[in-house]
């Protein structure tokens, strides 16, 4: 730790506050299951955080340059795991996303976001003088495309789509020509109808339901309708912790995972929900600050990528609970129940702090 004064304690504190809110909400969301404490989701999530803190310490202790050095190896392993999960993984909710390692559910797609950030950072920083050329975009596009396709195949539309803004954010800060990036976006949009063709039926249905949830109020539209009711009925001050009727009376499905924000909105109201959103914005702001103050492209790319990763994941997740976006199953960082997501996010924040204290500032 070269510069103790640059250690972003505030970032760390906000992370723990968000986690605490998440743990309390998980407790509330799963209370009606009446599980014994040691088996409860709340305690399990605390255990995951224990592992997370250990990994956080490791992440901060090693210079981020060491991570860059092994970026391609990490990326390669992660891609192999994505392939493996398609072959031997367990299906859950119609998707093959995870497999168990020693009794723990492990979800490689949660880590690929981070692996992609590191791999892209490594590439763009090493080519930083030729990034304006078109051919320099070929490798980054490949780096994006391989996990994108693999994650789509699981199928995990949400996580796959999240890789795209991460890619663009790093491309933008690395100095790639905006014209080329614009062309890529347009090509992507033009390819959407083809993309639609490859979607699974349930994914198509989710998109249809996004346009009009009342198509099927007891089926595919049920979750989104109930979630909007939960958040909306929270009002300004909320119904109070453990007092959300939508939550406690079981009207919300998937409420300790992807739809956990519905409970935050219902039980803590607009004030609580807005505070949570502000904290995510704070993390994003800190990430971009670190990026702006970092002169080496390695650190800058990592900080920008992570900033976009955490902020967009939370914006998309919250938007879907209030019907502003289609339901794409992605967890709310640090809040949703789930070890892989939690640990990946904690490591990401560790990397941010890491860049903050070790960056070169000329």
């Amino acid at each position: 730790m070269k510069k103790r004064k640059d250690f972003d304690y505030l970032l760390l504190i906000v992370m723990f506050i968000i986690f605490a809110i998440g743990a309390a909400t998980i407790y509330s969301a799963t209370k009606s299951r009446n599980l014994p404490l040691e088996e409860s989701f709340f305690v399990k999530q605390l255990n995951w955080m224990g592992i997370g803190i250990a990994l956080l310490v490791v992440t901060i202790s090693i210079s981020y340059q060491r991570f860059i050095d092994v970026a391609y190896i990490l990326y390669g392993i992660n891609v192999l795991l994505l392939v493996a999960v398609l072959i031997v993984g367990h299906a859950r909710l119609g998707a093959q996303r995870w497999f168990s390692i020693g009794g723990f559910a492990f979800q490689p797609s949660e880590f690929i976001k981070l692996s992609l950030v590191l791999a892209l950072a490594n590439y763009v920083a090493s080519k930083k003088d030729s990034m304006k050329e078109m051919k320099s975009l070929i490798v980054p596009v490949m780096l994006l495309a391989i996990p994108f396709v693999l994650v789509i195949l699981q199928p995990d539309l949400g996580t796959a789509l999240l890789l795209v803004p991460i890619f663009f954010a790093i491309m933008v800060v690395s100095g790639a020509r905006l014209k080329y990036l614009g062309i890529m976006i347009l090509t992507g949009l033009a390819g959407l109808p083809v993309f639609w063709h490859f979607l699974r039926d349930y994914q198509k249905q989710r998109l249809m339901v996004f346009v009009n949830p009342n198509i099927d109020p007891l089926g595919a539209g049920y979750t989104i309708i109930q979630s909007k009711i939960a958040v909306g009925s929270g009002g300004l001050f909320g119904k109070g912790w453990l007092n959300g009727t939508q939550n406690q009376l079981n009207f919300l499905p998937e409420r300790h995972t992807d739809f956990i924000f519905s409970i935050v909105g219902e039980e803590w109201g607009f004030l609580g929900a807005a505070a949570l959103v502000l904290m995510y914005f704070f993390i994003a702001k800190r990430a971009f600050n670190i990026a702006a103050l970092t002169s080496d492209l390695y650190g800058k790319a990592i900080a920008s990528g992570i900033g976009v990763m955490i902020s967009l994941q939370s914006v998309i997740n919250i938007s879907m609970t209030i019907g502003l976006m289609p339901v794409v199953g992605i967890p709310l960082p640090l809040v949703s129940y789930g070890g892989s997501s939690l640990i990946a996010t904690v490591i990401a924040i560790g990397l941010l702090i890491n860049v903050g204290i070790r960056r070169s500032t000329f």
């Binding site: 909306g232 009925s233 009002g235 009376l249 009207f251 909105g265 607009f270 807005a274 971009f288 914006v315």
Partner: protein, 573 residues
């Protein structure tokens, strides 16, 4: 510079998200809050039972009974085959009907949906026991109107049927709900606001599967108020029995107060048929019977020429106008000449010389033609109206009609023609344009029985604890001698061996009355008897009307005798 693109994009997204949250939680709070409560709060209504109806002796006539419905909770249904099997076995329902009910239940999977209404009590208990094994089967109880005496008194009670959508729009604020029954006729309609109970309810919180999690509050239901009638159900039953299969009406009342002791109309109906909310064959048959018109209360809604019972009015007019005295004699040759026209007496060989008493006793038409013409149409019309004709009696059940007491003015407006002397001749014996309801005749008779005082007939004497109808008899201005002369005439009708109403003479009590045989354009003559007893200090007056019943001196008089004897047994005479 380039960093800013990313920062600005992310910031813009956060601002949008903020706005979305604010809209959802603050602007639309009311809407979603209501949705959330609708989700989790159910109100299970508790019926406020409708008030009972009792007769004058406290005998329960109309009450509420517990009915059982077989229902299905679709959500809990596991084995459809088993469900269909047990219901078709025990309730004699076709598998198709049950499947149709199940289809309907699919739309409301959490709530019990009725499969068959009002099942037998023993079957209900049997199915209730079976429901432990048959998932989804539920037996629901409900309070249903129960008309204990079936057809007897049905026109007094009326009936109830399901509220229409249009009525619901008007009445929703008064606590009416879809599927509620409302009074359609009789007391059920007239006293709807008193009889109706106020429904209470249990407010419960349910989870997403509709299971009760806790009780939030209970609002106790309020019973409707009971009605205590002037009717004596035993006398009412006797009247029904005496009428038998004949079409007609009977009204028995206390001439001093207007209390109606019995009010029958035949053909009658069983109001229980209307209690089941779905239409049944029985109900359709009742509504479609245009000939028998069983739903119509002939005693207050039927319009008929009164025939000779109206001679009471003619006599009053002539005496009060001092055109004749009781001893003035007229000669009956069997025919009455008016210019070129001839009006026959019912007895073609004639009655010879007649005074008032004889005129009544023989119901001599020629005598009444003469005194009617002597009085003149205006006097006859005036006295007809004084006796209550041409205007509803305001008895406390709905659908009463006014009838018609014609006169010069009426004919000019309604028929665009002037009044002829021939019209007066017909008027004098209760024929022509004159139309009356049986209850109006009973009221007319009560005037003679009650020293010239007219009373308003009524059926309800007490609502809950509150007595109503403090009746003030109204003296219609007749000379006391007129009343007693007419009474004496009618005494002879029943008690003289030659009286037209001698068949009405009962054992042990002296009756006074008048028969009537009314020509009508629809066929056989209508038959009337109206009278009162005891002759001195009357306690009961009645009217018996038989539609196309032949001669007043035969069947109606016999029925009247039966009623008087029954009333005597019950201690009213």
């Amino acid at each position: 510079m380039r960093d800013r693109i990313v920062i600005l994009t992310v910031t813009a997204l956060f601002i949008l998200l903020f706005a979305g949250l604010f809209y959802n939680q603050v602007v639309r709070f009311g809407y979603y809050s209501r949705m959330s409560k609708n989700n989790s709060i159910r109100v299970i209504p508790i019926d406020g039972p409708r008030g009972n109806i009792y007769d004058r002796n406290g005998v329960k006539l109309v009450s509420n009974r517990l009915s059982f419905d077989a229902a299905v909770v679709y959500q809990e249904l596991k084995n459809k085959q088993k469900f269909v099997h047990i219901l078709s076995e025990s309730l004699n329902m076709s598998g198709r009907d049950i499947m149709r009910a199940l289809e309907k239940a699919r739309a409301r999977p959490y709530a019990p949906v009725t499969v068959l209404e009002d099942i037998d009590k023993t079957k209900a208990i049997m199915l209730e026991e079976a429901s432990f094994d048959v998932e989804g089967l539920a037996i629901e109880t409900r309070s249903k109107r129960n008309y204990i005496y079936g057809n007897t008194g049905s026109h007094i009670f009326g009936y109830m049927s399901e509220i229409t959508d249009k009525e619901l729009d008007d009445l929703r604020d008064y606590g009416y709900r879809m599927g509620d029954l409302v009074g359609r006729a009789g007391l059920e309609k007239q006293y709807e606001t008193y009889l109706r109970g106020v429904d209470g309810g249990t407010q419960i919180e349910v989870d997403s599967r509709g299971r009760e999690t806790r009780v939030i509050g209970v609002k106790e239901p309020m019973n409707g108020r009971d009605l205590y009638l002037t009717i004596d159900i035993a006398l009412q039953s006797a009247c029904d029995k005496l009428l038998g299969e004949r079409k007609g009406a009977i009204c028995v009342m206390n001439p001093n107060t207007g209390e109606v002791l019995a009010l029958a109309s035949h053909p009658s109906f069983d109001p229980n048929v209307f209690v089941v909310p779905k239409s049944s064959e029985d109900r359709t048959a009742l509504i479609k019977d245009r000939v028998g018109r069983p739903l119509s209360n002939r005693a207050i809604s039927g319009l008929y020429p009164p025939g000779s019972v109206f001679k009471v009015v003619t006599a009053s007019a002539a005496l009060e106008e001092k055109k004749i005295t009781p001893n003035t004699r007229f000669f009956c040759s069997g025919t009455y000449r008016l210019g070129k026209a001839e009006f026959d007496c019912w007895k073609s060989e004639g009655h010879g010389s007649q005074n008032m008493t004889e005129g009544f006793m023989n119901s001599c038409d020629v005598y009444f033609y003469s005194i009617g013409r002597a009085a003149g149409v205006d006097a006859v019309e005036r006295y007809a109206k004084l006796y209550g004709f041409g205007r509803a009696t305001s008895i406390d059940i709905p659908d009463e009609v006014n009838g018609l007491a014609p006169g010069r003015e009426w004919k000019k407006h309604a028929r665009h023609s002037s009044w002829f002397e021939g019209d007066t001749v017909n008027y004098s014996i209760g024929q022509g344009y004159l139309l009356v309801t049986p209850i109006q005749v009973a009221v007319m008779m009560s005037v003679i029985a009650n020293d010239g005082n007219l009373v308003k007939p009524y059926l309800v004497r007490r609502i809950g604890d509150v007595s109503i109808h403090v009746n003030r008899p109204k003296h219609i201005g007749l000379d006391q001698r007129t009343v007693s002369v007419i009474g004496e005439g009618m005494y002879e009708v029943v008690n003289n061996v030659n009286g037209t109403g001698k068949k009405a003479k009962p054992e042990g009590v002296v009756v006074s009355g008048k028969t009537g045989t009314a020509e009508n354009p629809h066929g056989r003559t209508h038959a009337w008897f109206s009278g009162f007893a005891p002759y001195r200090n009357p306690k009961i007056c009645l009217v018996v009307f038989l539609e196309h019943g032949g001669k007043g001196g035969v069947a109606p008089s016999e029925i009247a005798r039966g009623i008087f004897e029954e009333a005597r047994k019950k201690g009213y005479l």
